[in-house]
Symmetry: C2
Subunit: 329 residues, 2 copies
C-alpha cells in the first residue's frame, strides 16, 4: 500500500496532540480527483477541533485536520472530464486538507489563478468562499448597501473587504488593532472602527444593511441595534462565546434576520453550486490584467512548514495575525 | 365637513381610554378608494397600542385603532381602475380600521369572497396575510415539510393550519387548551401539543423545518432546538416577552435562521405585491365550489358591536378565544 504523510491529532488537547504520521494514500473513485497538496490554510476551526470541540462531519477523515488545500492533480477517477493530471487546483474539504494528498469530487475543485503560487492559493478557499457566500447569498447585499465586518483583519475579513469593493458594497470594519485597520484601507475598507477605543456601536457613523459577525453572543444586542430595518445579521463564529442575553423586540420591530452559516457541514449538493458560482463570478477578479479594477489578493500573514503547525496554532491563538496563516509541505 | 364615527384612544391605559368620537370623513386622493367599514377584526397589536406600546406608523391615524377592515366602496379617487362604488372589499391598514370609513390605496384592497358576510371577511386580512407571508415568504416552506405553529388557536394559527393543508405542509400546533386543539383537527392540524401538560419540546415527535412563533424570548432556546438543520424560526410576536437568554451555538451548528416580521410597518411598495400574490394564490381557495379541496374559512370566535370594544379587549386578554374577534358597526 502506498503511503503519504499527514498531520494527525493524536487526541484532544494542546498543540502536543499534533503529529505527522504515515497514512494510506487515498485513491480517487469515479468522479473524484486526487490532489497532491502543496499547501493548506489554517482556520480557527482547526484549533477548535484540536481541542476536541468540532469533529469532522460524516465522510471526512476524523483525525487529519485541514479544511482547504491547494496543489496539483496527480490522479483522476473514472468519468472525470473537468481536470487532468498536472492541473493546479484549490478547494474546500470537510477535513483532511493537511495531508500530502486529498481526494475530492471534481465539481468541488477550482482552478488556481495562473499568477499565484500554491501557497498563496491555499489562502483563498475558506476565506473567499465564506465571505462571498455570507455577503451575497446569506446577507443578500446589493450595490450601494452598507455592511459591518467584525474582526476585519482576519482571513474572512480581508477577503470580505475586497469582495465588497468588487460588489459596490460599502465596507465598515472593526478590529482591536489600529495597525490592521490601516492596512485594510488600500484593500477597500471605507470606514474603520478601532474597538480598543470603545464599543463599535458608539463609533459607527450610520446604521448598516448587514453585519457579518464572528464575535457571537455578547455582541448580539449591539449587532441587532446597528441594523437598518430589514437588516441581516450573518453569524459565522463565536470568538467571544455563544451565550447571549438580549431583547429580541428589535428583531420584530425592525423585521431583522439572524442567519447562522458554516461551510464545513455542507453536503456535496450544496458545495458544488457555490463553487460553480464563485468560479464564474469571483475567480476572474484575481487576474492582474484585463480589467481596470484592482485584482483580488489572498492576504497571507505567514507561511510555515507543515512540521511547525503547532507554532502556527499558537500564533493564531494570539489574534495578532493579519489575513491567513498557510502551512506548506 | 362631513363627519363619521370612529373609535379613539383618548390616552394610554386600560379599556376606559376607548371612546367613540365624531371625526372628519376622509376623502380618497388619486389612486385611493374609500371603504364604508362594516366590520373590523381585533388584534393583539390594538391592545398593545391601547396601553401605549405600539404607535401607528407614519401616515396612518394616530388615535384610531384597527389594522384591518371589511366593507363596501363608496367613493373612488382619480385614476382608480380596479374598483367602483358598491364593491365589497377587505384589507390591511396601518391604523384607523375601527372607523366608519377608511381610505386605502386601490392596490391594497382585496375582493371579499362572494359567499362570506362582511363580518366574516373582517377576520381574514391580518390572520391570513400574516400566516401566508410567514409560511411562504419568510419560512419558505414547501410541500412535504413540517412546521410548528405556536398558539395555534389564535387568528393567525387557525389561518396557518388551513394554509398548511392547502400547501401540503404538515402542521404541528401548540396550545394550552386541549379543547382548542381538538377543534383544529378538522381544519388540518396533524399533530397537537397540549402545553398545559408540559414543555412542547418534550412532546414533539420529530424536528421541524420551521417554527412560526408568537411566544418570544423565553421560548427561543426550545424553538431553535426543535429545528432541523437549515430550519427557519419566524417571530411574529412576544406573548411571553422579548427578553431572552440563549446559547446561539445551535444557530451556527445547524445553520438556522431567525426572522422577525410584522405587517404594520410595511410600506405600500411592500404591501401591494403581497396583496397581489395572496389574491391570486390564496383567495380562490375560500370558494365553496369548483375544487375538491375543503374551502378556507375565517374562524370567528365572536362578533361584538363596535360600542362593546372594551369587552372584546377584555376577552382577548384572557386568551380564551378561538380564532378571531370581530367588531361591527
Amino acid at each position: 500500500m502506498t503511503m503519504m504523510r499527514a498531520v494527525c491529532y493524536t487526541g484532544a488537547g494542546d498543540v502536543d496532540v499534533i503529529a505527522i504520521r504515515d497514512v494510506p494514500l487515498p485513491v480517487p473513485e469515479a468522479g473524484q480527483v486526487r490532489v497532491r497538496v502543496a499547501a493548506a490554510g489554517l482556520n480557527r476551526a482547526d484549533l477548535l477541533q484540536r481541542r476536541g470541540g468540532y469533529p469532522a462531519p460524516e465522510g471526512w477523515p476524523k483525525q487529519i485536520p485541514g479544511l482547504e488545500y491547494a496543489g496539483t492533480i496527480d490522479a483522476v477517477g473514472q468519468g472525470v472530464t473537468r481536470w487532468r493530471a498536472g492541473d493546479r487546483v484549490m478547494g474546500l474539504v470537510g477535513g483532511g486538507g493537511m495531508a500530502e494528498a486529498v481526494v475530492v469530487h471534481e465539481d468541488e475543485a477550482m482552478p488556481v489563478p495562473g499568477h499565484l503560487t500554491l501557497s498563496a492559493a491555499a489562502a483563498i478557499p475558506e476565506a473567499f468562499l465564506t465571505a462571498y457566500d455570507a455577503l451575497v447569498h446569506r446577507a443578500r447585499l446589493v450595490r450601494g448597501e452598507r455592511v459591518l465586518l467584525h474582526a476585519v483583519g482576519s482571513g474572512v475579513g480581508t477577503a470580505a473587504v475586497q469582495l465588497c469593493r468588487l460588489l459596490g458594497v460599502h465596507a465598515v470594519g472593526t478590529s482591536r488593532s489600529a495597525e490592521k485597520l490601516v492596512r485594510l484601507v488600500p484593500l477597500g475598507l471605507e470606514e474603520a472602527i478601532d474597538t480598543s477605543r470603545g464599543p463599535f456601536r458608539e463609533q459607527l457613523a450610520a446604521p448598516v444593511d448587514a453585519v457579518i459577525d464572528v464575535l457571537g453572543g455578547p455582541a448580539l444586542a449591539d449587532n441587532l441595534a446597528v441594523l437598518r430595518p430589514r437588516g441581516r445579521l450573518v453569524v459565522l463564529g463565536f470568538l467571544l462565546g455563544s451565550r447571549t442575553e438580549a431583547d429580541l423586540g428589535i428583531v420584530l420591530r425592525n423585521r431583522l434576520e439572524i442567519v447562522g452559516t458554516a461551510m464545513r457541514s455542507r453536503t456535496h449538493a450544496e458545495r458544488a453550486p457555490l463553487v460553480a458560482a464563485f468560479t464564474a463570478d469571483v475567480l476572474p477578479a484575481f487576474a492582474t490584467s484585463g480589467s481596470d479594477a484592482l485584482p483580488l489578493v489572498p492576504v497571507v500573514d505567514q507561511v510555515f512548514p507543515m512540521a511547525s503547525l503547532g507554532e502556527a496554532h499558537r500564533l493564531m491563538e494570539r489574534n495578532e495575525t493579519f489575513g491567513k496563516l498557510v502551512l506548506q509541505w
